[in-house]
Amino acid sequence: MSTENLVKQRANDIGGLEAGPIAMVDHEMLPWEKRCHALLDILDIHKIVNTEEKRRGVEDLGSEMIGKLSYYERWIVSAINVLLEKRVLTPDQLAKKTAEVEARFKS
């Protein structure tokens, strides 16, 4: 079975696909989600991660992660991947910082 369509049609490109009834859902943004949104706005203003890079990064996550991560979870992982690609951050820097932040909250 050809897998070409997985490459040609990106996972966000769903206009016209089959889908079920509209679930009338909404939720008030969690505080971290608002912080995440504001962060991505700032990154775009400074062109550190522009909005189109963020969108492209979300698409690059692939259909499993797109399906399983929530909206803002996709944003932050996309932004991190772009920051790593562009060598603004390194994986090691981020790993050390997340450990430090976790420890701060557990203390």
Binding site: G16, N50, E52, E53, R56
Partner: protein
Amino acid sequence: MAAATQASRPAFRVGDRIRISDRTPVGHYRTPMYVRGKTGHIERVLDLFLDPEAEGYGRNEGAEIRLYRVRFKQRDLWPDYTGGPEDELQIEMYEPWLERA
């Protein structure tokens, strides 16, 4: 500069019949599959904007292209469309995706 003016003049005008390219690049795009290869008309000529296919990979200037709004009849997009015969789908299209039809 004369060269910039030439490149920035719109290739299409309101009312022109156009077809969306059916090419399938690998990588980021803003031209959904459901309009590829379809025929419509220019609804509006818009400004120059940064090509999202470049912007998505970190280009923040110097890749401006013309944007248009295009109108399609829904019956031309969906073989089993059950709405009104004049119902439309309107969408933005960047010039490199447009062919004269």
